[in-house]
Symmetry: C3
Subunit: 164 residues, 3 copies
């Protein structure tokens, strides 16, 4: 019987690990649709209460500041003129109750001078997340635009586990 107990316990652990990876993936992917539909409180609720969202030009501490960014005239203006915050498929590494997600994001906006769209920003994203009693939440998200500044490649390099 001990063989069965051990196999069950191992399966439960492996299944939990897979569920964690997919839950973190869903959380990261929900940012774009929530931001582009103006769901300020829902965007903020992706973070833990004291979570940090650090973008090149703006540092947001806690949910209230994140929600305020979504409600700002600048952000609402992008929605009104046509905007897609496309979050790329994240590379997720779960370690117990912590996780790191690494992805690109593209801010794609309606081109006012033509009939198509243009890529306004291509950005490196490094997320850290933590398991909480009510599910995974973002602890920090750091975004750096990939315009040649050295911080952005460094941020990409920091998000992947070392493999040999």
């Amino acid at each position: 019987m001990s063989g069965i107990e051990e196999r069950l316990a191992l399966l439960e652990e492996r299944t939990r690990r897979l569920e964690d990876e997919l839950e973190v993936t869903r959380l990261v992917l929900s940012y774009g649709p929530l931001a582009d539909s103006g769901g300020a409180d829902a965007v903020a609720a992706l973070w833990e209460p004291g979570g940090v969202y650090d973008v090149d030009e703006l540092l947001m501490n806690g949910r209230a500041e994140i929600a305020a960014m979504v409600r700002s005239d600048a952000h609402q203006g992008w929605i009104a003129r046509g905007c897609a915050h496309v979050i790329g498929a994240p590379h997720v590494t779960v370690t117990g109750d912590d996780a790191v997600a690494l992805c690109y994001s593209l801010m794609i906006v309606k081109d006012r001078s033509g009939d198509g769209f243009r890529v306004r920003r291509a950005t490196a994203n490094h997320w850290t997340l933590r398991r909480r009693p009510d599910g995974w939440r973002v602890v920090t998200r750091v975004n750096r635009v990939l315009d040649g500044r050295s911080e952005s490649p460094e941020l990409l390099a920091a998000g992947l586990p070392v493999t040999s």
Copy 2:
């Protein structure tokens, strides 16, 4: 033994749930490669026989109309001139035998006036899917271009489960 029976049954259910999420993800991601290689019948077979594909300018009812769109001169012309229907990583929510997938799609085409590509359309995608005896199939896919019309953000908001 009852403890083992319950743990096995729960693991079977959780594993099925994970398999469903990945199967729905694969189905959604297969649209682009099938459409861009002109596989009209294979594209249509992603939907159930009476499935609906509702794009801004075109409403397709059933597989025959979907296949006809892929075979159309307009679609074949895009393939011939260079085209990528990039389906973004989908956010998938499975509930029993039903699922909702939410993603962005980018229609990226060769730029005839330059040496690169341009983003012709950035679109919100809302998919509903159903489990059938032969696997998951699309029931409805609604696409709305993110050009500032209010329908598109509303479509994004409708595709995510409510979290607190």
Copy 3:
């Protein structure tokens, strides 16, 4: 007891299959961050020692040639001027110890004549991978730009399992 043994064995097999699909996905998604941060040896280590990376204009045989591409002035120049190798969410098919992944990749670069970014290349990617004692590795990756050449749609068509 035989019922329990069979159910455990089946769960172990299904769980392994899910882990494989996610491991292959992570491997494919790690290419962009490693390439854009200049990790030449880490990029090369995604392939098995004799692995092949076949891009339109360049055929690389083995890890040394792949690492040399990352170290080249051309590639380092893209990083210095601002570049994102965005690997789209891969469609992964695992069959035992082999896997096929199909995705799009977008090479997005800082626009030197404006303040945004431009899509320099949109490319069909067909990966074959193999399980090795130390994890999954790439056997071949074939990239063809989607500029209207017939090879590119053919590459997309070849990467999906036949469904009815």
